[in-house]
Symmetry: D2
Subunit: 310 residues, 4 copies
């Protein structure tokens, strides 16, 4: 089995992205979104949040998240649990693999291979995830943790034990970018926390995240912006945080495979957020419809190229 390799930004796609601005449909959307992301990342008075949904880490998008962190383009990340779980799995030495779509899932089950669409993962990775997680949890100072607080501890542990790991959790920690996971129980890593808590004291208060996110990051910001990859809890959390704040998002970009006409939050237009006071009526915003595994590498590559040049 050949391993998944995380994609890195490249030079020289900017010309293509620029050209797309004078075309139509989603090519133009992609180009406009790149312009907004560039402005948002350059705006030094703006606090930017990344929403991370969908199996982006198994699919090889890790280095792009790292790029955003290391360049200080984003100042807070809201993620599903899965994108943490699979990052930890990678960080401690396991891999995801190029899989196939035409295999029988019952056969994969017998071979102990977990499938994420066209990606494979050995089920045995949960053993090393358990070892690592339980060991870290054991050593944690006794205090009340938000998800962001807990993720900081795990980032610190990775930094110490796996300092060379290509882990966005580690690098977020090292760059002081908080990681919020409002649905933390709902993932393999969350189940490890539950396992630990069955026999040990550990106070994880996910409502504390609102305090750290809204009071400390949103309300103290002059402006905010967001780059939303997929929908779900990360999108909702980042937008909902603005509902009772004076500081609405001034920049908003979403990369989505969902559609507005189903009525759900994940596919909702950014304009809908204006009615709620989640996005500023004078915000620059753009949705790109399509798979973020294609649009994200293009946007990050082009923005990197632009910001290095200027």
């Amino acid at each position: 089995m050949k391993p998944i390799k995380a994609i890195k930004p490249t030079n020289n796609v900017n010309d293509l992205i620029k050209q797309m601005g004078s075309t139509g449909f989603n090519a133009r959307r992609l180009s406009k979104a790149t312009d907004i992301v560039e402005k948002m990342f350059k705006d030094k008075e703006c606090r930017n949040f990344l929403g991370l949904s969908g199996a982006m880490i198994p699919a090889g998008m890790t280095e792009l998240v790292i790029e955003m962190i290391e360049n200080e383009w984003i100042h807070g990340i809201v993620t599903t649990g899965a994108n943490i779980t699979h990052d930890l799995i990678n960080a401690i030495g396991n891999k995801h693999y190029i899989g196939a779509l035409d295999k029988d899932d019952a056969e994969l089950r017998k071979k102990k291979i977990d499938r994420i669409y066209d990606i494979y993962m050995k089920d045995e990775v949960y053993e090393s995830l358990e070892d690592f997680s339980q060991n870290v949890l054991k050593t944690l100072p006794k205090k009340k943790y938000s998800s962001a607080g807990l993720m900081k501890e795990f980032g610190k542990a990775l930094s110490k034990k796996f300092p060379a790991s290509h882990s966005w959790v580690r690098i977020a920690y090292e760059n002081n970018v908080p990681i919020f996971c409002p649905s933390l129980p709902d993932c393999g890593f969350g189940m490890q926390i539950w396992l630990f808590k069955q026999f040990n004291e550990l106070d994880v208060d996910l409502f504390l995240d609102w305090h750290e996110f809204v009071n400390e990051l949103v309300w103290t910001a002059k402006r905010t912006g967001c780059l939303l990859i997929g929908g779900g809890v990360p999108k909702n959390f980042i937008l909902q945080a603005q509902q009772f704040a004076d500081t609405n998002h001034k920049y908003a970009v979403q990369l989505t495979t969902d559609s507005p006409q189903w009525g759900g939050l994940s596919g909702a237009t950014l304009s809908e957020g204006i009615s709620w006071g989640k996005i500023s009526p004078d915000a620059m915003y753009q949705t790109v419809y399509g798979d973020a595994t294609i649009s994200l590498p293009l946007i990050i590559s082009a923005v990197k190229e632009r910001l290095k040049k200027k």
Copy 2:
């Protein structure tokens, strides 16, 4: 503005659904799904879970959830926070309204109208939600709550203060059906809990949900089944609970507007769950692609008709 009215199951759609079983595409999927839901609801040794994602409550699906609860067809519900928030909003006397798609969202903002696709809600509902929530929270016995434990208290409060309310939260409580919300902070109601916790002690431990869901409901079941409306955290939680259990789902139906080819969990085939040990290799399962506001009323109506007759 005309209010949204929750749809109730009707008689006599069963013949159409039966006929669909000999057609193709999603009509056949719908018919097969109805057969599985019928079998699952009739199987008295099977514990069934409802996954509730998407803005199903604003969109008028409340009575269908109530139908499933009152007929003892489902034994646990996993939901997004929004479907709780909007149920409470309805329960305490507010409404959702028939909205339009061609209005300017900045204008709606000025009029204090929040838009959920083609549904309107007055922003002022948050005031009564705050009153109600803070009052209930104030009176809660001091103990550690799972999301299910907390929802039980809110169901009880509704039962007392709004005994005639058409609220699935109230009726779930009255029928001893636990409500799990693994992403509880991430909704308007979750923000009320946060507000309360800024000035009061309240211990809500969302990891406790795993204990109550897995240990008490899944592991003690002879068989389990699931009806998944939409994806997101509810789908993942219900499936993930099985990953380390011996009791895999024997019945599984999902109603989704998402597609497998984007790779995310929400659109993933149920077959993919077999590779993870989340769904039994010998399970009966079926996905219906399309808006659950159409497929759910049809399935519940047909199943009701069938189960009353036999």
Copy 3:
């Protein structure tokens, strides 16, 4: 192998459809669309066109088309070639079958089974299609045919040789409803015409369809309306016919699985057609997103119930 059976309208779904009018999302769209179809079918001064795309005939939608013809609800049909080809295949005694999605297509090829998603057809049906088609073509009066003219001849032939066949082509002929197929060459039946023309004279002029459709049906109508199942050529043809006419569509309903954000005609909103003068600015129009194999049986059943009652 079990055969596909065409679905017939049933009584008593109207209550559910009515209720959907006070819900949200596509349930409401479906209800509103049904209201428009009812009005359009009742309007005796309105000429109504059915656009028929997607493999509706293999999927068992034949009887619904027949229902519309026999009740004089539609006055012209524009179709893809496939929906003619598969109707002829059925009419002359062949069948489509309930198929599976998990079989190897190379194996199906060896067994001479053609797959249409979850529907099977024996490849040998093309032999009887050839016999029938060539025999009919041989006997045709020498003249210039539009696609509608040619389909009339085939309807007549079916009426004579297969008078009991459940064929919408036959029944359209018997009810004087013309069938337009602007892309007639592009189907199995179209290849039969090509085969015949290799050795015989036959003048089929597809530009003549514009004359018969626009001059004879559209320009002479007081009002026009359309029910568009899917997109493609049928949708475009029905809308394009209005572009240079004074009589724009006053009613328009489309049932589609496509989305506007991709920019193509098939997923385009009906509103877009207003800018072109294809749809009247004061038209009643509605799109229902989802599989027509579900929405069409519901609409036709409900409309039948309504129009019989009144």
Copy 4:
């Protein structure tokens, strides 16, 4: 109003596309599709067909089609009528413009602006299209024309009157690449032919296209391949041509926004085509889900870069 500018291939996206081959989801699909297109374009014994659906020409994809023609990568094009109509409109000096999505379509109608999603076109372009088309049609030698034969004449006319035009119809003619349009009546240009034929003799026999496509291009090929942009008639025609041929497609790539689960031809998997004998069981094939306005520029740019280097 700012004009749409057709996007040109750029250098140096190949590295990103290559990297995508080790990721997941549609990024990997895009990378694999690029590999297949490269192999197909390099295979000098393979005859390659381009299927062109969706409003690709208004959306600025013209130069990419031209690139494929001029490099002798494709040997036949099957297109919707719209992609011809809008090419002629551009060729004779009109423009498409960057449009908006939030304007009232009834207002656009009053301003005589036709909207194609986010692209505008002045309705007056039909006047110059009429002048040009009628003038060309007037001079045509009297004979029987296939759509390909007719398009050749229009390519020749453009070559003479608008030799510098960026028109894929002109350049296809100059490079002897035939253009097939099996649904030719169904477009603005097709209506011009109809207009002409009301007062003049002109014999356009669209069944002749099968002869020119199947007998002359497919049956005489050692191998065939196809690049399908969108579905509809072009996809069906290119695949159907293989159904009764010994030479099945050995390479097949489709770029689509449609999904298999709706059952229609446009979203059908390429694998389904194997059951029909339209695609060879040992073919290399790949579908990329997403907007072709993004995937096509990437594929053509990367392939150009690769083929120039080797």
